[in-house]
């Protein structure tokens, strides 16, 4: 629509311009002729027509925008948290994931907020985008019409990892979503802890900043981390043990490894205790220090103030709904 109007106008401009330039270019024996300095009728026409077209475009744009911004009452609600540089999606049953799983053919409403700077959630395939602002909840909704796998991106500049603040929308076949949600929580329990930990490592966004192949990214590598000793920014030396990993997850700024910035988001409320345990098992499995005796006692004193954070798996903004009764 706008496209057609634009193309027509552009063609008109180019056409007239080229014609005039060719016809009236300076050449021998040709002289500029007089023509009226203005022409009211012409000027009214070329004011009124674009005005009407603009009103039309405005109206159409506004109408569909209103539809886009009013979620239906029966929409399935998922909470979204943006945090440098990853997304967390919280489901009514308390499960959180770093990918957005949705049922097909059902309106889904996202209630979004940010833990740090402004982000913006964009799902190009569904034509939805909205800023995710700290201190408020912004909402968008959409209804996926075809099962599949679609990219989801951050489009408000948010620093180093902005262009990697990506995720996916997985639209499940009819019925598939409910099964996924039921299993998602229990799935890890069926695996050996180290494997479950690896899954968590891969799906909770750690890969953004941590590698397991020995190269440092935004954060230190996990290879050989466990039971290894590191200097912190404040000059202390710590040895990585279970408590330290836990502290790193829940209160990352408490001690910061030298050479890195304190940019790791907190996972308090996003990882359950048992999940941290699984991650620890995984770290052990990829560290050559691990079989040895863990932390010596003098290193322990560095983080003896380890806070005992409460385990609150659901800090999201809607009531818990443990038995997913709203499906079907």
């Amino acid at each position: 629509m706008i496209y057609v109007i634009s193309v027509i106008f552009f063609a008109l401009i180019v056409g007239l311009m080229v014609t005039f330039v060719v016809q009236f270019r300076r050449r021998k024996g040709y002289q500029a002729e007089d023509s009226p300095p203005h022409n009211t009728r012409l000027e009214v026409i070329w004011t009124v027509i674009p005005t009407l077209l603009c009103v039309l475009i405005f109206y159409l744009g506004f109408k569909s925008f209103l539809n886009m911004s009013t979620p239906p009452a029966n929409a399935y609600e998922i909470s979204v948290t943006g945090q440098k540089w990853q997304w967390f999606f919280g489901y009514p049953n308390g499960h959180t994931a770093s990918e957005l799983h949705v049922p097909v053919d059902r309106p889904v409403k996202l209630v979004m907020t940010s833990e740090d700077v402004i982000h913006s959630l964009w799902i190009p395939a569904f034509r939805v985008k909205k800023d995710v602002v700290p201190g408020r909840y912004s909402k968008i909704w959409f209804q996926a019409i075809e099962p599949g796998d679609y990219p989801l991106l951050c489009t408000e500049y948010c620093g180093t990892g902005h262009s990697d603040m990506l995720s996916r929308v997985i639209v499940h076949e009819p019925g598939g979503f409910e099964t996924w949600l039921r299993d998602a929580d229990g799935l890890l329990d069926t695996l050996p802890p180290a494997e479950a930990g690896e899954k968590l490592y891969l799906t909770k966004g750690c890969t953004q900043c941590h590698s397991v192949d020995g190269t440092a990214g935004i954060g230190p590598t996990f290879q050989d981390m466990f039971a290894g000793s590191f200097a912190t920014r404040d000059g202390a030396t710590i040895v990585v043990d279970e408590d330290y990993v836990r502290e790193s997850m829940l209160d990352p700024a408490a001690s910061v490894i030298a050479g890195f910035e304190p940019v790791m988001p907190t996972y308090a409320g996003k990882l359950k205790d048992k999940e941290i345990t699984m991650l620890i098992a995984y770290f052990k499995s990829i560290s050559r220090h691990a079989p040895q005796e863990p932390a010596s006692s003098d290193a322990d004193s560095d983080h003896s103030d380890q806070p005992d954070l409460p385990d609150n798996p659901d800090n999201l903004d809607h009531p818990e709904d443990p038995d997913h009764s709203e499906e079907k």
Binding site: A32, P37, W46, D131
Partner: protein, 561 residues
């Protein structure tokens, strides 16, 4: 006719050099001090020109680095943090140091008093102060680059800008100072246009460039203070944590965006209005044809200036602003497109039955119409709410504003520079090379930025260091375009500098312009006019005729009276 204005000027403008016959403003006095402390609007204009072109060069280097980095997904030449700094500096330098002061402070300063037949601007000291502030602001910006740079984007959105590392405070202080420089220039132009028009030149007897500068000046004076306050609040927030923008302290981060765009949207018109003024001059002089619909063009400048204050919210359609606000801002945004469209139609109608000279200034003017057409029409997609949601913060936006900023303003600046170059420096540049460079710039520009429209609508977000490999091909094409563009600019720089040394001496009126600046020598003497110019209609080209012998257009004897 301009008797008493002339004496007025003589009283306000101390002569800081000899003005004997044969000398012009360039060689009437020598030494650094005679430049840096001059009150001559022409010298200030030239210094601004040098400073602005230097900034353009610097901003251009950053642009090329950005484009080179984007040749491949992930790391090509620098890491993500460096990339973020580079695009921030590219934006900040181009906007605050180059394009906002560009046409008004460099070309406007030089041409405005000449077009009024005056000796100088009304407030020469303020004019010099404006330039000194510009230098001061520029030093802050450059210092910030040395001291680690900034990575906030030129928009300084909170809370990112209040929490990130880097020299945010230095840069924003620089912006604050540059704002005052801009206000001073605007103030000066308003006073000058009100007070220094020669007797006999009514508002509708002014060249349209002056209408455009006037409309621009109004925005500069009214909008820039808001930017000043906004960056001060940002600095206070960052240094003292006063909690205006930080939600943790009860502030509102989106408030910053409202403040910021309350200035920065009108600022877009601070850039484009003078460009439109330049185009009105170029089109009519180089087709030797009276401008079509003079009053409509003049009024549309004023209309744009007023409306420009009412549309800032269209930058916030997806920020969570209320639907009512979105509706109002979308509607108002469309209303700006009407006066812009009117201008385009008027320019094209001016060509009708003219005598079109396809030299560099005219080519740039024609390029302007095309590129501004694309820039404006793609703006419709963004003004419309539903489509903006998808296109916001993608390369579509990047392409759109480069078409209006670079494709329109920079092209008009180049056109104006080529148009007035003989007047400013008394030399003609190589006609052939100027046409080649103009063509190269036009092609390079479109290759660079048209690709970005495609990329953006396909889903490539802006300010992305890394990107999915399906976009690689577009990025490569776009980068190649930017290299072409750079070659075009380098050629331009070479032949312009060459012309200063080896160029043919320019006649007083090489193009047959009818506004007053063409009645004085090229380059003008220190006092601008050796004898009082004859006031004629600026768009009546029958007042002069071409003189084969001197290559100059001379006033017809009967006009001289």
């Amino acid at each position: 006719m301009s008797g008493d204005t002339a004496t007025n000027n003589a009283a306000t403008v101390p002569t800081d050099g000899q003005t004997t016959g044969g000398t012009d403003y360039l060689n009437c006095s020598y030494g650094i001090k005679s430049w840096l402390l001059t009150l001559d609007h022409k010298r200030i204009g030239v210094m601004y020109l040098v400073a602005i072109l230097t900034s353009f060069f610097l901003g251009g280097i950053f642009a090329l680095l950005v484009r080179t980095e984007l040749l491949t997904p992930g790391q090509t030449i620098v890491d993500a943090d460096t990339y973020n700094r580079m695009f921030t500096l590219h934006g900040a330098i181009m906007i605050f140091l180059f394009i906002i002061p560009g046409i008004p402070a460099a070309l406007g300063n030089f041409i405005l008093p000449l077009q009024l037949g005056a000796k100088d601007v009304a407030l020469p000291r303020l004019n010099l102060a404006s330039f000194h502030l510009y230098l001061g602001g520029a030093i802050f910006l450059l210092a910030a680059i040395w001291l680690g740079g900034v990575d906030t984007g030129w928009t300084f959105y909170t809370p990112y800008s209040t929490t990130t590392n880097g020299s945010v405070v230095l840069v924003t202080l620089g912006v604050f100072i540059l704002g005052f420089s801009s206000i001073f220039t605007g103030l000066n132009f308003i006073v000058t246009i009100h007070r220094m028009r020669p007797a006999g030149m009514g508002w509708f007897g002014m060249p349209l460039f002056l209408w455009a500068l006037y409309a621009t000046a109004i925005i500069q004076v009214l909008a820039t203070p808001v930017l000043g306050i906004t960056v001060l609040l940002l600095i206070a927030e960052r240094m003292l944590g006063i909690g205006i923008f930080d939600p943790a302290l009860g502030g509102d981060p989106v408030l910053f965006q409202h403040f910021f765009w309350f200035y920065s949207h009108p600022a877009v018109y601070i850039m484009i209005l003078p460009a439109m003024g330049v185009i009105s001059e170029l089109i009519s002089v180089h087709s030797r044809k009276r401008i079509f619909g003079y009053r409509m063009i003049a009024f549309s400048s004023i209309a744009i200036a007023i409306l420009s204050f009412l549309v800032w919210g269209h930058h916030l359609f997806v920020s969570g602003q209320s639907n009512l606000a979105n509706m109002v801002f979308s509607a108002l945004t469309f209303s700006v497109s009407i006066p812009s469209a009117i201008k385009v139609f008027n320019w094209i109608a001016t060509l009708y039955k003219g005598e079109i000279r396809l030299n560099a200034p005219m080519l740039y003017a024609l390029a302007f119409i095309l590129l501004f057409g694309i820039g404006g029409l793609t703006g419709l997609f963004l003004g419309s709410l539903a489509t903006d949601v998808h296109l916001h913060d993608t390369y579509f936006i990047v392409a759109h504003f480069h078409y209006t900023m670079m494709g329109s303003v920079v092209i008009a600046f180049l056109g104006g520079l080529h148009h007035w170059w003989p007047k400013m420096f008394g030399r003609m540049y190589s006609e052939r090379w100027s046409v080649i460079a103009a063509a190269l710039v036009f092609v390079g520009f479109n290759v660079t930025f048209f690709t970005q429209f495609v990329m953006g609508s396909k889903g490539m977000p802006r300010r992305y260091y890394n990107y999915p490999s399906e976009f690689t091909i577009y990025h490569v094409i776009s980068s190649i375009g930017s290299y072409l563009l750079a070659i075009g600019f380098i050629i331009t720089a070479i032949y312009l500098i060459h012309s200063l040394v080896k160029g043919r001496k320019a006649p007083a009126n090489p193009w047959g312009g009818a506004s007053l600046e063409w009645q004085t020598a090229s380059p003008p003497i220190h006092d601008n006019f050796a004898e009082e110019p004859v006031l004629t209609d600026p768009y009546d080209f029958s007042v002069n005729e071409f003189d084969e012998r001197t290559g100059d257009y001379l006033l017809r004897p009967e006009v001289k009276g």
